[in-house]
């Protein structure tokens, strides 16, 4: 695939992520913060998001396996996940966190379990999509091109 085709593919892919609700405006803000002084900013922030999320999702799974569930602690974790997903524009993850927090407040175990599954699912999808997008960007850079805005 030549450079122009790669660039077109990237633009289409990125547009689809917005259209399908995986990403929102906040992700655009992140891209605007990236410049020659900070060329890897988006990848760095998103990597931090991946680390944070995986840790939080593990802690949430463990919390729901306990005999006595600490809903307050769980709520704090979901709150953190909501915060970081909203910071990078991971819209679907953020929206599920809102629902998850409602279940925590209602101390609804079934609801929490179901929500956790959904969050894990959405998280893994957005992670794959972002990684694919970064790979495309790298291909463009390797081919000597620049990333279209």
């Amino acid at each position: 695939m030549d450079l122009v085709q790669l660039q077109r593919q990237l633009v289409n892919y990125r547009t689809s992520l917005y259209h399908e609700g995986f990403l929102d405006e906040q992700f655009t803000q992140l891209q605007e913060l990236q410049d020659e002084n900070n060329p890897d900013f988006v990848v760095e922030v998103v990597s931090l998001f991946f680390e944070d999320s995986e840790r939080l999702l593990n802690e949430l799974s463990k919390a729901l396996e306990q005999q006595i569930i600490d809903f307050k602690r769980m709520d704090a974790r979901v709150h953190q996940l909501k915060g970081s997903s909203s910071s990078i524009g991971a819209q679907r993850v953020r929206q599920l966190c809102v629902i998850f927090r409602n279940y925590c407040e209602a101390q609804n175990v079934e609801g929490c379990l179901k929500c956790l599954q959904q969050v894990k699912h959405e998280y893994s999808i957005v992670k794959t999509k972002l990684e694919s997008m970064f790979q495309l960007e790298q291909q463009i850079l390797n081919a000597g091109g620049s990333i279209p805005v």
Binding site: L33, V45, D52, H79, S87
Partner: protein
Amino acid sequence: MVLGNDASSSSLSNKNLSVLVVDDDPLIRMLHDNYLKHFGLKPLVVENGKEAVDLFQLGTSFDLILMDKEMPIMNGVEATKALRDMGATSMIVGVTSRGSPSEMQAFMEAGLDFCFEKPLTFDMIDFILKELNVNDDDDTNN
């Protein structure tokens, strides 16, 4: 001379502003740090309210403090109250991910100048910087 692509507030006048970012989340610290750098600022970054208060007690002062609400050791409400009690005249802007009106109100009452929901955006920072430049002396910027 303009720094960066989108800094609509005058970057030259911003260079002299001292800024402190207070947040326990490393992702947010990184994000806000970069936002501010994009506007030509060099923020100091700390992890909780107590560190902010300690800095003030050491005699450091800031033009602008971005204060998170939920933090361990000393949260944003406590830190803001403490800073105001110590006579801090910095512009303190609360940044919170809990958006309920009553919570934001309580945070404002601790002594904030403004309160925004996370995450910050370019427009919010632009607004804050414009307010800061207006409150500074009457020299014309640009």
